[in-house]
């Protein structure tokens, strides 16, 4: 009985002891180190940093270890820590055109300045389980294309913009960016706020919604203009230091989609943009985000809103997996007081129903 009249406190303590034991697993087997997690489960770490909105590989690795590999639980741990951190200010916008690239592909051009660069991708691997990986392996040293750092290739969206075929990117507002962790959401949202929410949104949820747009629920004819993965510098302007100083580098994945647009009363025929940006390496998330971003621009572009993916309140209110998991799982908490009230009502209504049936029977006789 999980809600015994007495003993809840002891039960909780015991449950936590058992959890610690199960987390550790067989003590005969050596314990995972944080370096192992961040080095060898790096994409899990990336997801936790991205949806946890905190760029710290070590803390993300710790969270994954503590959460027994449950990534949403790990994201939750990181968020609950992040929210207690003081805020000094906002960094300068990062320049993804200045990225130190590890991967860069475009689906809209066969070849382009800077070339296609596959980088460390699962694409084109055959998904055959590799028994050799069950043991310890030493992979071949990776090839390096450049002895020195290559030139920074221009972004595909800039190539299109040069021809005036794509809508302009908008100018930076100059004011402090919106911050969904410091101000409550108020619908309808500005696009920057929406992108922020999408960037920390659940990968699975955005994937499903993005997929739905491809299957005809608010189709937006997307092309992958460019995906780039690599490191960018983060700069912070501290008036005391005079000018911006570099705080460090973060690895990010950026996806710029180019979407057909036949024009509307509000805008001429042109390609439109949609955008995905996440910490670490996660093309799936960045692409899904871009598909959702485009679908959610329906109102701004004068398109009919006909599908779930275009419905801002629906998408944004349900994209946060920490909120979603909490509320779904709160159904585990005792609800017997409300249930008691419902029990009484159902009993009463059943009695009334039986009484009516009896009367009908009598009337028929």
């Amino acid at each position: 009985m999980y809600v015994a009249v007495k003993g809840g406190e002891k039960a909780i303590d015991n449950a936590h002891r058992l959890l610690a034991d199960r987390r550790r697993g067989d003590p005969e087997i050596s314990e995972l180190s944080l370096d192992q997690i961040s080095g060898q489960l790096s994409l899990a770490v990336d997801r936790v940093m991205s949806e946890g909105s905190l760029y710290d590989r070590e803390l993300a690795a710790l969270a994954i270890k503590q959460a027994r590999g449950d990534l949403i639980e790990a994201i939750f741990l990181v968020r609950a820590y992040r929210t207690t951190l003081p805020r000094f200010g906002y960094s300068e916008p990062i320049d993804t055109g200045d990225m130190k690239l590890e991967r860069r592909i475009s689906a809209t051009y066969k070849d382009l300045p800077g070339g296609q660069m596959l980088g460390p991708t699962f694409d084109y691997t055959h998904r055959l389980l590799d028994p050799a990986l069950a043991g310890e392996t030493v992979p071949d040293a990776p090839e390096r294309r450049f002895e020195e750092a290559p030139e920074k290739p221009m972004r595909v969206s800039d190539i299109l913009a040069g021809e005036g075929l794509i809508e302009p990117d908008g100018d930076p507002s100059g004011r402090d960016p919106a911050d969904i962790t410091r101000t409550p959401l108020e619908f309808p949202l500005e696009r920057e706020t929406r992108l922020q929410a999408l960037s920390r949104g659940d990968e699975g949820f955005l994937l499903a919604l993005g997929y739905s747009t491809q299957r005809g629920y608010a189709r937006n004819h997307p092309f992958v203009g460019e995906i780039r993965i690599g490191e960018v510098e983060v700069e912070f302007e501290a008036p005391e230091l005079g000018g911006a100083s570099v705080l460090g580098r973060v690895q990010i994945t950026e996806c710029q989609m180019v979407n057909q647009f036949k024009g509307s009363a509000k805008a001429p025929p042109q390609f439109t943009r949609s955008y995905g940006l996440v910490f670490g390496q996660s093309e799936r998330k960045a692409m899904s985000m871009a598909l959702c971003d485009r679908a959610l621009r329906a109102g701004e572009l004068g398109e009919d809103r006909v599908a779930a993916a275009q419905d801002e309140e629906f998408v944004i209110s349900h994209s946060d997996n920490v909120q979603a998991t909490g509320f779904v799982e709160h159904l585990k908490l005792p609800h017997y007081v409300d249930f008691q009230a419902e029990l009484e009502l159902v009993r009463k209504m059943r009695a009334e129903h039986a009484h009516r049936a009896e009367n009908m029977q009598e009337a028929a006789e």
Binding site: K6, G8, G326
Partner: protein
């Protein structure tokens, strides 16, 4: 300010940093000034899951001081697992005194119940709220419901209640029964059974409502009118139990149904465990051995 060193990271008194508390207090003040109005606030991620009382915890953390005495109940009981967990959280992060006695507490955080013993001036009752919007299940869009509140457009709610009567002969809402506060805002009393609604009216204590996931705070100041929605020919009624509490004999209180065996055996006893224990403590005829159900 007390800083509690937990080894890795230091946390402020009652977990939240002072800036966050100030932001929440501002929202609370606004909520008190406009009874029943849902004030948006920048809800923080808390170290317990959304849906498990994060709104109530943030409100409590923002109003509690070192001199306060805290009581936490869930389903009327101090010993339900989540009540224990939240009480421990404040014992750990704020080091405040806690109690199970309603009369001794200055701050009472609750989920799904209002204590049976009348609350006094100076006490604060903090409710944990899952869905603060009373119109949400009639209109899922926030943009619409905000407009409806602004225009005092509550026809939809009355239609819903009327449809209940047309279909069932009575209103089929048993908990989270909507109320009107100070003749203006329709408010969700949180999922307390409607049995508790009359206790909100003209209550001597301050009632604060926190919804963390939905980022809303609302309030009922002391001695404010709270009226459960009804119709002249179908007045609001609370559910009555046919038998008294099997443990303390109290009547006119909310009872839990305990299943005793698999043959239909059951007993009804007080949902408010503190109320029940205090009554049993007063009655000499009841021996201590009957005091625990296992």
């Amino acid at each position: 300010m007390t800083l509690q060193d937990t080894g890795l990271a230091a946390y402020n008194f009652a977990y939240l940093d002072e800036q966050t508390k100030r932001m929440i207090r501002r929202a609370i003040l606004k909520a008190i000034a406009i009874p029943g109005y849902q004030v948006p606030f920048a809800s923080r991620e808390m170290p317990m899951p959304y849906g498990w009382g994060t709104g109530g915890v943030q409100v409590t953390a923002s109003i509690i001081g070192p001199e306060d005495v805290l009581k936490v109940i869930d389903q009327g009981s101090d010993d339900t697992t989540n009540a224990v967990s939240i009480r421990k959280f404040f014992e750990k992060t704020a080091g405040v005194e806690t109690t199970t006695r309603t009369g001794e507490a200055t701050v009472i955080q609750t989920r799904h119940r209002i204590p049976e013993a009348p609350l006094k001036e100076g006490q604060v009752l903090v409710y944990q709220v899952p869905i603060p919007e009373p119109l949400r299940f009639l209109e899922p869009r926030e943009t619409e419901t905000r407009k409806m509140h602004a225009l005092e457009e509550y026809g939809l709610m009355h239609v819903k209640l009327y449809e209940d009567i047309a279909r069932n002969g009575h209103i089929a809402t048993t908990y989270a029964y909507p109320v009107k506060v100070e003749g203006r805002y329709v408010m969700d009393p949180s999922p307390t059974p409607k049995f508790d609604n009359p206790k909100m009216d003209n209550c001597a204590a301050l009632q604060l409502f926190g919804a963390g996931r939905e980022k809303r705070i609302y309030a009922i100041p002391p001695y404010t009118s709270v009226v459960s929605l009804d119709f002249e020919d179908h007045p609001f009624e609370v559910n009555r139990f046919e038998q008294p509490c099997a443990l303390c004999g109290a009547e006119g209180v909310y009872l839990d149904e305990m299943i005793l065996d698999d043959k239909g055996g059951r007993m009804f006893c007080c949902s408010d465990t503190d109320f029940c224990e205090e009554r049993r403590g007063e009655a000499e005829s009841v021996s201590a051995s009957n005091g625990e159900i296992v």
